[in-house]
């Protein structure tokens, strides 16, 4: 690498490190940092103590079973990720920020040096991620060092593999080969759908059996060869064995880096426009917009806004926001929710299983609110506008929630309908109860989410990979939200139970009492949100 670029890389790393130290000097930064590592430590301790509690032979058996699963499913997952990259043709190539383009593109550097510089920056970030992953993966690989090496090489492979796929697609753009892209994607989707249907229709075989059979077939082994190398890194039983796989993985990564440098020369113009697009997107994300926002400059204007006593314009603005910013995300989430039924049926786990419910809650309570933002959280930089409107604060708050809640509720309903249709034994009355309670629960999740953001405003994206304050805060927020949801759920269930024991009627009256209790709690949280909006100080900087 060029000496100047190497020096720049070192200075940026040192700057990043200094920034983390500065974060730690504030009480809030220190608390979130401690919270983040406290939760990580708790997870590690819980993990190790649960394995200590079982006998040694059981632990060995568990490890063997996990190794078999990693060996089978990790290559398939990595292949799926590569196919997704092909389908989207966007993704992590080598992204240069506007500052880097201004300084480095005009500097006396070769493109090759710039790519290596960027790759070096990426490796530095990946090293940190690998160190974190190694804490959890060491139980599987036997030592922290082997877990670290396996994670690092795999993360680098994922990045380089995606970059090479995207660059290849960009090189082939306009050629005959690019025309077969969509038919091939359609064919693969059809095969996937057929497999799911087959698994659903065949009682003694589930989806995982089919995937396992594919992985262990000769054709599966050939297709998955590069990915198998990285799975073997995690399941190697001895150090020499691991060293061999690590060498092969390293060679694959070097070959991919070489390919990226060669392909980069053919895609320089495209890379520049992609960089500009990517930078604009990130700028918009920082302002609370969506990464998937429309790239169009002009659209058909809607002539009039809703009024609804002041609540309408805010809801209308957020509806337009979803339609133009996040429609693709909504479609993907509705698709995922609709696939949940067949997936759960194919796997053979009932929907009411606590593990499934935990995944569903994590999806609705953590993943969805982080990905789909169409309420106050995305408008923190525009609070000035809301503060000057002649609309009562509670109407502004309610207007902000309408679209976010409705969209989430549609996704939840898709999930419920899908499970009702595909899961045998899941009765319609159960689905109706889920549907009825999903609405106040959704409002509750987003009211709490918005209240926290208004009381303690924060940026929507982390400042780099190692923003422990951001990560710690996200975890603390999720825990706080879960406590409120659980408390509201418990209070609602208690009222339902009291109604049942008092009146000894059918379950309809207790369910209704529970629902009303939950709705009243939601209204109380809405009052809290209104208070948070009123006391929101625009003049103070949103960090």
């Amino acid at each position: 690498m060029d000496q100047a670029l190497f020096r720049l890389l070192m200075m940026r790393l040192r700057g990043g490190f200094r920034l983390r130290l500065i974060q730690l000097t504030s009480l809030r930064g220190l608390l979130f940092f401690l919270a983040f590592f406290g939760i990580i430590w708790l997870l590690v301790v819980t993990n190790s103590s649960s394995s200590d509690m079982g006998s040694m032979s059981n632990a060995a058996l568990d490890r063997q079973a996990l190794s078999a699963q990693i060996s089978t499913f990790m290559p398939i997952s990595m292949l799926a990720m590569s196919l997704l990259t092909v389908a989207l043709t966007t993704g992590p190539t080598f992204h240069f920020s506007p500052a880097e383009i201004n300084f480095l593109y005009t500097g006396p550097f070769r493109r090759r040096d710039l790519i290596i510089y960027k790759f070096g920056a990426y490796v530095a970030g990946a090293t940190l991620s690998s160190a974190l992953i190694a804490i959890f993966a060491q139980g599987q690989t036997g030592s922290a060092l082997s877990a670290f090496i396996a994670s690092l090489l795999t993360i680098i492979f994922v990045q380089l593999n995606s970059a090479v796929i995207v660059m290849t697609a960009q090189t082939l753009e306009g050629s005959r080969l690019s025309r077969i892209r969509y038919p091939v994607i359609a064919l693969l989707l059809a095969v996937a759908a057929a497999c799911m249907l087959y698994a659903w229709a065949t009682p003694d075989r589930n989806l995982f059996d089919l995937l396992s059979a594919f992985r262990h077939s000769w054709i599966g082994t050939i297709i998955l060869i590069p990915y198998i190398v990285f799975a073997e890194l995690f399941v190697s039983s001895s150090l020499p064995n691991m060293a061999v796989w690590a060498c092969i993985a390293l060679l694959i990564n070097i070959a991919l880096l070489r390919a990226a440098i060669v392909l980069d020369a053919r895609t320089t113009d495209r890379a520049l426009s992609e960089n500009a697009r990517q930078s604009n997107r990130w700028e918009r994300v920082k302002q609370g917009g969506s990464y998937w926002a429309t790239q169009r400059a002009e659209v058909h204007s809607i002539r009039r806004s809703l009024v609804w006593g002041g609540l309408g314009p805010i809801a209308w603005r957020q509806a337009l926001n979803v339609a133009r910013d996040s429609l693709k995300v909504v479609v993907v989430f509705v698709g995922i929710a609709a696939c949940a039924g067949p997936l759960v049926a194919a796997v053979g786990i009932p929907f009411t299983d606590p593990r499934v419910l935990t995944i569903v809650y994590t999806f609705f309570g953590f993943i969805l609110p982080r990905t789909l933002v169409c309420d106050f959280r995305g408008d923190l930089s525009r609070m000035e506008v809301y503060k000057t409107l002649p609309i009562a604060p509670w109407r502004i708050c309610a207007g902000q929630l309408v679209v976010q809640v409705l969209v989430t509720y549609v996704i939840a309903l898709s999930l419920i309908v899908s499970v009702t249709v595909f899961e045998k034994g899941f009765v319609t009355s159960g689905a109706l109860v889920f549907a009825a309670f999903a609405l106040p629960l959704t409002v509750l999740i987003y009211t709490v989410e918005n209240t926290i953001h208004l009381l303690f405003p924060k940026k929507l994206v982390p400042m780099g990979r190692a923003d422990f304050e951001f990560l710690g805060r996200s975890l603390v927020e999720f825990i706080a939200k879960t406590i409120v949801v659980l408390a509201a759920g418990a209070a609602s269930a208690a009222v339902g139970f009291a109604t049942l024991t008092t009146f000894r009627t059918s379950l309809v009256l207790p369910a209704l009492a529970s629902w009303i209790t939950l709705t009243l709690i939601v209204l109380l949280t809405l009052v809290m949100m209104q208070y948070a909006f009123r006391r929101f100080a625009v003049a103070e900087t949103v960090d």
């Binding site: 918009r284 302002q287 917009g289 926002a293 429309t294 169009r296 400059a297 002009e298 659209v299 058909h300 204007s301 809607i302 002539r303 009039r304 806004s305 809703l306 009024v307 002041g310 309408g312 314009p313 209308w316 603005r317 337009l320 926001n321 339609a323 133009r324 910013d325 930089s381 525009r382 000035e384 506008v385 503060k387 000057t388 409107l389 002649p390 609309i391 009562a392 100080a537 625009v538 003049a539 103070e540």
Partner: protein
């Protein structure tokens, strides 16, 4: 129309504005002048209800902004120094949004006229994130004028505008004042004040150092060979302050 009585604003122990009192009548244009951190933007933000005052009364068209914020805000048009528009909405949709928020029923005709006067007609269906800084400023001004406010507050209104745009905005401000609006402009452009303002207030370190009509300022400070009267007044007041502090 605008009456400010003993207004103070403190942020965590720091006094941004201290004991400020003034009034602006219909048809008057008050220019707020002062160095960075003098308290100009804080005063404007408090007047339009973005930040609450620590003490004092801020009356807009007879309504206290702290006690009757909805009624007061119904009469205000505020143009911030960096207008934050909604990325996913077009120029026209910003006007439709404003009309719904301020309950302006038949807004189309007025909106068309505003688009025309600010040369935005051809940009009506453009998403605002594709507009230049100056264009976005024009959209913000058009939105602020749509509900025909009795009080208009401008924070650095000419930033990013081309000469044609500057002339257009100046003309629009004059017309609004002639129509009876009370206007406050905060800016660092002294020439803008000389062109438009009927009154001047010089703020420094959160306190009012000079308040009077433009004629009073001109007669008090006169014109030197190199500087205009306003420039003379500004530097005399602020430099005296700095020397005093030193």
């Amino acid at each position: 129309m605008i009456t400010v009585t003993n207004f103070s604003k403190q942020y965590k122990g720091f006094t941004a504005v201290k004991d400020l009192s003034f009034s602006v009548e219909p048809g008057q244009i008050l220019g707020l002048l002062g160095p960075n951190g003098a308290g100009k933007t804080t005063t404007l933000r408090a007047l339009c209800g973005i930040i609450p005052p620590t003490s004092g009364r801020l009356m807009i068209a007879g309504h206290d902004i702290a006690e009757a914020p909805i009624a007061a805000k119904q009469n205000i048009g505020y143009i911030p120094d960096d207008p934050r528009l909604f990325d996913t909405m077009t120029v026209w949709e910003h006007l439709a949004f404003t009309a719904a928020a301020y309950k302006v029923t038949d807004f189309e005709k007025c909106a068309e006229a505003l688009l025309n006067s600010f040369e935005l007609t051809h940009k009506r269906d453009t998403l605002v994130h594709n507009l230049s800084r100056g264009m976005r400023q024009k959209v913000a001004i058009a939105c602020a004028f749509l509900h025909d406010p009795k009080v208009i507050l401008f924070d650095e209104p000419l930033t990013g505008l081309d000469p044609q745009g500057i002339r257009g905005i100046k003309q629009a401000i004059r017309e609004r004042a002639q129509a009876g609006a009370a206007i406050i402009i905060s800016s660092h452009l002294l020439s803008l004040f000389e062109d438009l303002c009927t009154h001047i207030m010089v703020l420094n370190l959160g306190e009012c150092r000079l308040f009077g009509t433009m004629d009073y300022v001109l007669s008090e400070f006169g014109q030197t060979d190199n500087n205009s009267a306003l420039e003379e007044a500004y530097f005399t007041i602020t430099q005296k302050e700095e020397m005093g502090q030193a």
